[in-house]
């Protein structure tokens, strides 16, 4: 003799034992939001250049995307554009090779600065050229080579120099 089906079970949609995915979807949504929050940034992200290890620092003012010079012990790159290899800027100051000046870097920076100065002001009324620049240096880079980059940037008009670091103890 068959029993009458239970009234409580009448509205169950997955009477065959199927799993409700709602809770899983909730979990996925939360994880997705968490990840989005982690990667959220004002404007564009500053990403670590290839082939270098940034130094650790306790000071963590948020970097904003600007013209970036990446200096490793192999090459010098300006906004993903190769500028010079190590032989052209590493090592002690040589007056016969321009002293502190890295000529190729100066030429490129100067051209960019002039281009931005010629454009005048942006839509917000502020000058497009702010003289700000980010330097990503490899942690093993020697002081003199680093100073050459700083000097060259300042000669090209980039006087607001910020050094990019990663959080460390």
């Amino acid at each position: 003799m068959a029993f009458q089906p239970s009234k409580g079970k009448r509205h169950r949609k997955n009477a065959d034992g199927g799993v409700s995915l709602t809770s899983l979807m909730d979990a996925m949504t939360i994880i997705l939001l968490f990840l989005l929050n982690q990667f959220a940034a004002d404007g564009a992200l500053v990403t670590e250049a290839e082939g270098l290890k940034l130094p650790e620092s306790l000071n963590l003012d948020k970097p904003k995307k600007k013209t970036t010079i990446a200096v490793s012990t192999q090459q010098l790159v300006l906004d993903d554009q190769f500028i010079a290899d190590a032989s052209e800027f590493l090592g002690p100051v040589d007056p016969s090779r321009g002293g502190f000046m890295i000529q190729k870097l100066y030429d490129e920076l100067d051209a960019r600065a002039q281009e931005q100065i010629d454009l005048g002001n942006g839509p917000d009324g502020e000058p497009i050229f702010t003289g700000e620049i980010l330097i990503q240096g490899d942690r093993s880079l020697d002081y003199t080579s680093f100073l050459k980059v700083v000097y060259t940037a300042s000669q090209a008009g980039y006087v607001k120099i910020k050094l990019v670091t990663v959080e460390g103890d």
Partner: protein, 191 residues
């Protein structure tokens, strides 16, 4: 009263919801795996000031500059350690290679975590600058927040950045600034 649908009416053509359970299982495994593999590195910046045209000359100072009370703090990083120079204490020479705060013996490797921090006594430098900051407080030095850092040719960039940290402020265990020291950092040149 509606009758229960007949069990015999079930046919193969009946619509079946795709089984998402397997995919969701995969996702549940993949997301933690990706999260554990991801490196969440916080990036930051340190601002440096470039020397002004009048800086470093010595002989061309105007009358106003001469009257101004200046601390003229300098920190030199060499392979021997840190040497501190200021107008109140002059060059503070230490027992080893004239370094105010000599490095600890032995070599270091930048690729080994924390190795350079053990070699260069950053905490001692920080303590020294804290005492100097307390000493000059309220004495009217016009450059009481300024410091010039100079390093030897072979000093690694990492050591320079770490020195900047320690010169700039005193941090507590939570990496919060506890006391501002000399945040206006400029770079000097060794010839």
């Amino acid at each position: 009263m509606a009758f229960k649908p007949s069990a015999r009416k079930k046919t193969d053509s009946e619509y079946k919801e795709p089984d998402m359970l397997v995919i969701m299982n995969l996702m549940v495994c993949l997301i933690p795996l990706l999260l554990s593999c991801a490196e969440f590195v916080k990036m930051g910046t340190i601002e440096i000031n470039l020397p002004t045209d009048s800086g470093g000359g010595g002989g061309n100072s105007s009358a106003n500059t001469e009257k101004a009370k200046k601390l003229d703090l300098k920190v030199l990083i060499t392979e021997a350690g840190f040497t501190i120079q200021s107008n109140i204490r002059g060059i503070e020479k230490g027992p080893v290679d004239n370094a105010t705060i000599p490095v600890k013996p032995g070599a270091y490797d930048l690729n080994v975590l924390g190795s350079y921090k053990e070699h260069y006594p950053f905490e001692d430098l920080n303590a020294k600058l804290i005492s100097m900051k307390k000493e000059i407080a309220g004495q009217g030095y016009t450059d009481e927040t300024a410091v010039q850092i100079t390093a030897g040719n072979n000093v690694p960039y990492q050591v320079l950045v770490r020195t900047m940290d320690k010169v700039k402020a005193k941090y507590d265990k939570n990496k919060e600034v506890e006391m501002i020291l000399f945040p206006n950092i400029s770079l000097g040149v060794t010839l």
